[in-house]
Amino acid sequence: MAPELLHDQELLRRIAAKDEDALKELYGIYGQRLFAYALRVTNDEARAEDAVQEALIVIWQKAGGFRSEGRPIAWILGIVHNTALKSLRHRTERISNVMENSLVAADLSPEEHLQVNQQANLLHQGLKGLSPEHREALELIFYQGLSLEEAARVCLCPVGTIKSRLSYARQRLKGLMNRAEAGK
């Protein structure tokens, strides 16, 4: 077993034994990744921070229930997934509408056309316009380095759903770029 994996399991065992230093150490190692993931899901720094704090509390309470069936990081990201979505559910406006509006704005505004004339900028805007589910699929695969199976476990959905979310994200981003090209 990889030393990194063993160390993570040991950290969770210490957290289960209510070792506060272990929780701090875990955050020291994975805090950036957890916050980046929460930010990708929520699109909001304050909500992402709340989601990470809430996730740390859940980790503290449930570390004893971790069974060494997979990588601890996948289990931890699954907790962040839940707390981040929970923070989104407290929004007064429906998420899909917010995302849809921002995408339309990026799509139609002439000022936006000027700003997003480069691919990187387009992708940056396009990623923001995706729904949380599609953003997190890209995030889990490309940044967190999870396999399709691990990403599916984090999102509590079948592997096929992760694949279709990736595919949908690509279609939306490609469509956005094509429209931007046509508008030049």
């Binding site: 701090k24 805090g31 990470v52 940056h124 990623l127 490309f142 940044y143």
Partner: protein, 305 residues
């Protein structure tokens, strides 16, 4: 020709196996549309990685989470903050629950019967100005209530009680505690009523005068009830209690009586006036009673037969 569209994100993420990766690379070299597709995936992955690598996590999230955790854990210990008490809480709540349930299982007519007899005794004592009536009746009432507390003939839910996972001795101890506390409370109230005919400074001595005999007679009646049944236990306990008053020279006024018998009665009375001895024997009988429950379960089978 296979275009490997589904495999592209996995290839970009480095999650595709070596053989499929090679096949995909060979295909890309020949197919321009797939090359564009792969470029798009790579650009997307690059954008995600660049954006995320610029994210700076809040430095104090773990500390804030720990503060929240401590607050949550404090809330869960509302009045039992000390670890010692939190450890005792569960067994204590279990004991309280057992007492509450067993109080409901005791014969319901026992409660008013005890109170009624003691009220009558108080009335008789006040009218006759004989406070000793309470000291005489109190132990008898207590013995009767304990003797009739459990067993096939007395417990409406005896079969249920006998088949419960709670040990028989725990059930008996719980009932003993509830009924004895009730008897004690009623007798103390009756004694307080005697303040109408006795000076206040005598009250303590008066209470001590019936307390030890009550404990002794209660434990004796309970022990006997477990082995020989409620009715026999009451008759025997009452007999032993009344025996101290069977002094022949007094009963048959003017006769010489039997000096040996009267000497025995004098010694016997002294026994009933020795609180330390009475309490010690009562404690031994209580232990024997609780231990007896291990050997008296066969009575359920007799009852069912």
């Amino acid at each position: 020709m296979k275009h490997y569209l589904d495999e592209m994100p996995l290839y970009v993420a480095g999650e595709l196996d070596e053989k499929t990766s090679k096949a995909l690379e060979d295909h890309i070299a020949q197919c321009e549309s797939c090359r564009e597709e792969l470029n798009l995936w790579q650009a997307m992955a690059q954008t995600v990685r660049e954006e995320d690598s610029r994210v700076i996590a809040p430095a104090n999230a773990a500390q804030i989470a720990l503060v929240k955790i401590r607050k949550l854990e404090d809330k869960r210990l509302p009045s039992w903050r000390m670890p010692l008490f939190s450890g005792l809480r569960k067994p204590l709540m279990g004991a309280i629950n057992l007492l509450r349930v067993q109080a409901l299982m005791v014969r319901h007519d026992m409660w008013p019967a005890v109170a009624g007899v003691m009220i009558l005794s108080v009335i008789v004592a006040l009218i006759s100005k004989q406070y000793r009536v309470i000291a005489f009746v109190g132990p008898l009432v207590a013995a009767a209530s304990l003797a009739g507390m459990s067993g096939p003939g007395q417990d409406a839910a005896y079969e249920l009680t006998a088949s419960t996972p709670t040990s028989a001795w725990k059930i008996l101890l719980a009932r003993l505690s509830v009924v004895s506390a009730y008897n004690l409370g009623i007798s103390l109230l009756a004694s307080a009523a005697m303040l109408l005919i006795i000076p206040a400074d005598l009250l303590g001595l008066f209470i001590l005068g019936w307390l030890a005999p009550m404990a002794f007679l209660s434990c004796l009646a309970l022990l006997l009830s477990v082995w020989i049944g409620t009715n026999n236990a009451i008759v025997l306990a009452y007999g032993l209690w009344l025996l101290q008053y069977f002094r022949i020279s007094i009963m048959f006024n003017g006769t010489a009586g039997l000096p040996a018998w009267d000497a025995f009665i004098t010694a016997y009375q002294r026994f009933w006036e020795s609180p330390t001895l009475l309490l010690a024997v009562a404690a031994a009988m209580l232990t024997a009673t609780l231990f007896s429950t291990r050997f008296t379960d066969h009575r359920l089978a007799q009852y069912q037969a």
